[in-house]
Amino acid sequence: MATGQALHGAGGKVANFGIIAAFAAFAAFPFAWMLITTFKRTGDLLDPNHNPFLYSQPPTLENLRVLFNDTLFVRWAGNTMFIGVLVVLITLLIAVPAGYSLARLTGAIGEQLGVAMFLTYLVPPTILFIPLSRVVSILHLQDSPWALVLVYPSFTIPFCTWLMMGFFKVIPKDVEEAAMIDGLSRFGAFVRVILPMSIAGLLTVVIFTFTLVLQEFVYALTFISSAKNFTVSVGVPSFLVRGDVYFWGSLMAACFIASVPIAFLYNLFVDRFIAGFTVGAVKG
């Protein structure tokens, strides 16, 4: 069965395959490179005459040992987890009801509010980090993970409200009307009927919020100053480099470990994200 507009014939197939292979290689190469580097001995790495694609010396686990024992990587991962879990909770508590309200209760104004919500997501940290750093210092949260717990929802909430709005819009209204006739209140229908139907949407919010937290860089760089309080995304580039000395093996190991597992999770949910994006963007 034809899907979409496809290239025809054997030539088309080969061209298609070539294009996909080239792009996949481009996308994945840095990660493959991280993986190769992770297991290389420093002597092997730092010899420009060695073929970098091969192991000229036997592979080693030394870089991983250094990363886990001699650096704060585990601590940063813990910080990221801690902040991530709290931000996910705050986001769920605030964005899910807001998304429902915008999808169902507020009518035409809801549409506009939804759009406004989406626009706040576009306001970049670059504009906000200077005043926010002041806010953080007034609250005496400098150099504390709590500063990030406070600030991160400012971008996860707009995004996830928008996302949830898209999910709730596609659930037929009949369902909650039936629930209300069967004896639930308006709010009860939301909590007891709509939320359980939206598990997939909620999971998507969890994954995306967590990914956004994991990726955040500017706020963490600005608000945190001592090494032990950093998140992975700032700690690794800042503190696995001593002056001009790069611990490439450990550095690449850290990058790989912090990047690839979450990508697997994300991949499971990306279709819902796109659905949310297009529903929201096209019909919003």
Binding site: I19, F29, P125, I127, P131, V236, C255
Partner: protein, 295 residues
């Protein structure tokens, strides 16, 4: 009527925390940023003198600002045009069903999902001045001799090329999946009709497929453009604006000015130069979204 049944009251109660949070942590700081940009406030200092548009005027006179502005525009435009073209090609190729598609999709998504700072470090190693795998390969293929090779992040033009490459690398996945979503939103009947009506590959592509995904792909592009325009991570990690400030962009300049230089007012003013472009992009996005016609 109880609150739980009162639609109007309920809608407000459910929405209020989100609005409040955004007002306090986006709206408030946003206004503060504007106020800061009109003052001489500095890091640790307590002076809060109103200086009018001096910060903006100073920025406009500053050659490093002008350079950063030019770089930002160049960087954002070039990277997003490349992304649009490449993502279209890739999305059309990915429409066909084949075995192992999920794996390909996972690989292609990696750069978008991975923390940008860490992915960029991967590139830092790939672009390394001595151990660059690219240079090794070029030497191996005898494109360069044993003694001369490009220093990717050390030569102004090459540094910009490197930064654009990394930005394309990390935005391409998003644009591709959004385009793919747009493509799969076109009913198969439309493609069949075009084929029966006698359209060959290019007519089909340029008169049917591309016009139909244009609105959604423009939204995706504007999205990517906003990211590229306001982001400093790639520049910060790869070059820190160097060599000699030749790759500085507005976002990184604002950061260095305010955090490293302590000039909060000046930094805020630099960052606020992003605003008109952001506003234009937002308006454009809304306009496109309204025009989307894939029914």
């Amino acid at each position: 009527m109880r609150l739980a049944d009162d639609e109007r009251a309920l809608s407000r109660v459910l929405l209020a925390p989100a609005v409040l949070y955004i007002a306090l942590l986006v709206g408030g700081p946003f206004v503060l940023a504007i106020i800061y940009s009109l003052t001489s406030i500095s890091l640790g200092g307590h002076s809060f003198n109103f200086v009018g548009l001096q910060n903006f005027q100073a920025a406009l006179r500053d050659p490093s600002f002008r350079r950063a502005l030019g770089n930002t525009v160049l960087f954002a435009f070039v990277s997003q045009i490349l992304v649009l073209v490449l993502a279209s090609v890739l999305a059309i190729a990915l429409q066909r069903e084949f075995r192992g598609k999920w794996l390909v999709r996972l690989l292609i998504l990696l750069p978008w999902v991975a923390p940008i700072s860490l992915g960029t470090i991967g590139w830092l190693w790939i672009f390394d001045s001595i151990y660059s795998v690219i240079n090794w390969t070029l030497r191996y293929l005898h494109i360069f001799g044993a003694t001369t090779w490009p220093i990717w992040l050390g030569q102004p033009k090459l540094a910009m090329v490197s930064i654009v490459t990394v930005q394309v690398w990390r935005t391409l996945p998003l644009a591709t999946v959004i385009l793919l979503g747009g493509l799969s939103g076109i009913p198969q009947d439309i493609h069949d009709a075009a084929e029966v009506d006698g359209a060959r590959f290019f007519r089909h592509m340029f008169q049917i497929t591309i016009p139909l995904v244009l609105p959604i792909s423009l939204v995706a592009t504007l999205f990517g453009f906003v990211f590229a325009f306001t982001d400093m991570i790639v520049v910060y990690v790869l070059t820190r604006g160097g060599p000699f400030d030749t790759t500085q962009v507005l976002a990184s300049l604002a950061f260095f000015k305010s955090v490293d230089g302590g000039d909060l007012g000046g930094g805020a003013a630099v960052a606020l130069f992003l605003l008109p472009v952001l506003a234009a992009a937002a308006v454009g996005m809304l306009h496109m979204a309204r025009r989307a016609e894939v029914t």
